[in-house]
Amino acid sequence: MRKNEQAKVILHEDCGPGYRLLVLDAPQVAADARPGQFVHVKVPALEASALRRPFSIFNAEDGRLEILYKAVGRGTFALNGVRPGETVEVLGPLGRGFPETCRGTPLLVGGGYGVAPLYFLARRLLQTPKLPNPQTPKLFLGGRTKTDLLALDRFAALGVEVFAATNDGSFGTKGFAVVPLDAELARLRAAGADFELFTCGPDGLLKAVSERAVSLGAPGWISVDRHMVCGVGACYACIQRTVTGNARCCVDGPVFKAEELAW
C-alpha cells in the first residue's frame, strides 16, 4: 500500500560530482517497495506549494529507503540542503515496476541516474528463490564520463558483472552503453541463451534498448522518465505514447514493455 510518510533523513552524502545519496528512515514506504517503482518527494526547502519531485527507489531494505539523485534544477538543488535528522515527506511506493523474475540472463542497461532502479532490481533478482534458470544479472552502464558511472561498488558487492561505457572513454568502452550490450547480445544469441532486457536512462538509450528487444523477440522492460505532477494518475501530465494511446507514466508505468511503446 502506498503511503505518504514523514521520513527522517539518516544519511545524505555526495557520490561523485553532482550526485547524492539520500537515505531515509521510511519503514512504511520501504516495506512495499518493488524495483522500478518510485517515490514522490516533497522538497522541504521549496515553498510549501511547490510540486513534488519523483525519484526511483535505489534501494529499500530494513525500513530504509535510498534515493540516488542528480542535482539538475530548482528542486534537486534545494534537496541538496536537507540535513540528517530533518524530515522529508515521501509518497510511495508508486507506479508499476520491473518484474522480479527473469527467464535467462537479466541484462540491465542504465544511463546516468537511470542506474538507480537497476540496483534495487539486481538485488531482488538475486534474492528471488525460484527464478527459472537463475542467472546473475549483468549491468551495462553508460555515462558521459567516469564520474557519471554510479554505484559501481554496490553492484560489485552483489557480484554483478559491470560493462561500462563512457562517451569520453575515461572508463570502460568509449561510446554508449549499447556498445558492450551489443557484444553481449551477439554472444548470447550465438549460444542460443535466453535473456531479458531491463533499462532506465535517457530516451535515446531507452529507444535503442527497445528496438533491440523488439527485433530480437526478447522481453524488454523500459523505465520511462517523464516530468510528473501528481504521481498517482490523477492529472495526466506524465504522458508516454503507447500503441494503445496515451498512457500515464506514473501509474501505467514508469516501466513499460518495449513493444507497447510508441516514441
Partner: protein
C-alpha cells in the same frame, strides 16, 4: 457540532469541500491518500462524447506560486466513463460525483449530458474549451453563446447543473446572468487563467501547446474577487475554487459568497489539504459561533 452539509443548487453535499475537475482523476486515484469522509463531492476529470487524446508533452510547467497546465482535456469518452470509470468509482466511494463535461459543439454538450442521465449526482459544464463550429472561440467567452450552450444542456438533464466560468473577463456579471437565464442551478468559479512559460535558453514555450492555464496559490485573490462579484449578482449558489491550500483560503471564498469550495492543484503537493481544509472550517465555525457552515456564505461585515 457544526452542521457541515450544504445544498449546492440541488446537489446535497455532506461537507462543503469538493475536489476540482482535472486534479482528482476520475475519483479513484487518491484512494488511501485523501480522507473521503471529509469530502462533500468529487468532481471527475472532463469528458466529452468520444475519448480525447489531449495535448502533446510537455503538459505542465511549475511556476512560483502555481502551475501552468495544458493537459488538453485528455479523457475517456462518455461510454467508457459509464461502463468502467463510474462503476469503479462507486466501489470505492460514497461521495457524490460531479461529472465535468465539455464538447466541440452545443449538440455535443447536450448529448453528453443526456447520456449521463441520472448516473451522476450533478453535472458541471466546462465552457473554457474551443467551440469548433463557431471558429474556435471558447463557449464561455461570449454571454450569448454561453446562454445557448447552457440552455441546451439544461434541456438534456434533470440533474443539478453547474456552469464553470473562466476568470479572464472584464466583468463576470453578464456571464452569471446568462447562466441564470439559461436555467443553471449553480456556478463553478474559477477555471485556470490563461498563461504561458518560455524556456529562454531554448527560446521555446515550455508547453507543447505553447499556452496553458495558471492554477494554484497565486490565483487565489483573483478567485475571491470573482466569487464576490458573482455572489452579489445572483442567488445561484457557487462552488468556488482557485488556490485553496489551507482552511483560511476556503473560508475567504465562503465569506466572499461561495456555498462550497473545491481543492485543486494543492492536492498534488499535499493530499492532506482536503482534510485540513475541512477540519479548519469546522474549527473556525466553532470558534466564531457559527452553527452551520452555510452561515459563512457571503457573510462579510458592513
Amino acid at each position: 457540532m457544526v452542521k457541515m452539509d450544504v445544498n449546492l443548487g440541488g446537489l446535497r453535499m455532506p461537507t462543503p469541500v469538493a475536489t476540482a475537475s482535472g486534479t482528482f482523476g476520475y475519483g479513484t486515484e487518491y484512494v488511501g491518500l485523501v480522507d473521503y469522509a471529509k469530502l462533500g463531492a468529487v468532481t471527475a476529470k472532463g469528458i466529452r462524447l468520444d475519448p480525447w487524446p489531449g495535448n502533446p508533452m510537455p503538459r505542465h510547467a511549475e511556476v512560483v506560486g502555481g502551475l501552468v497546465n495544458a493537459i488538453g482535456l485528455q479523457g475517456t469518452g462518455v461510454e467508457a466513463f459509464l461502463s468502467k470509470t463510474l462503476p469503479a468509482y462507486r466501489t470505492v466511494s460514497k461521495v457524490p460525483l460531479i461529472a465535468n463535461i465539455w464538447g466541440g459543439s452545443v449538440e455535443e454538450y447536450a448529448a453528453v449530458a443526456a447520456r449521463l442521465g441520472d448516473r451522476v449526482e450533478a453535472i458541471e459544464m466546462n465552457v473554457s474549451c474551443p467551440n469548433v463550429k463557431a471558429g474556435g472561440h471558447t463557449f464561455g467567452q461570449d454571454p450569448n453563446v454561453l446562454f445557448e450552450v447552457v440552455a441546451a444542456v439544461r434541456k438534456a438533464t434533470a440533474r443539478p447543473l453547474l456552469v464553470k466560468l473562466a476568470p479572464n473577463v472584464p466583468s463576470i456579471v453578464p456571464y452569471v446572468k446568462a447562466c441564470e437565464d439559461a436555467g443553471a442551478d449553480a456556478l463553478s468559479l474559477i477555471n485556470t487563467i490563461p498563461a504561458m512559460v518560455i524556456d529562454i535558453e531554448r527560446r521555446v514555450p515550455v508547453l507543447a501547446n505553447r499556452t496553458g492555464g495558471l492554477s494554484g496559490r497565486g490565483v487565489h485573490p483573483v478567485a475571491v474577487k470573482l466569487v464576490y462579484d458573482a455572489h452579489r449578482a445572483t442567488k445561484l449558489p457557487i462552488l468556488a475554487m482557485g488556490g485553496v491550500y489551507e482552511a483560511k483560503d476556503a473560508i475567504e471564498l465562503l465569506l466572499a459568497g461561495a456555498t462550497a469550495v473545491a481543492v485543486g492543484t494543492a492536492t498534488f503537493t499535499d493530499p492532506g489539504v482536503v482534510a485540513a481544509v475541512h477540519d479548519g472550517i469546522v474549527a473556525y465555525c466553532e470558534r466564531h459561533g457559527f452553527a452551520s457552515v452555510s452561515d459563512l456564505t457571503g457573510n462579510l461585515q458592513g
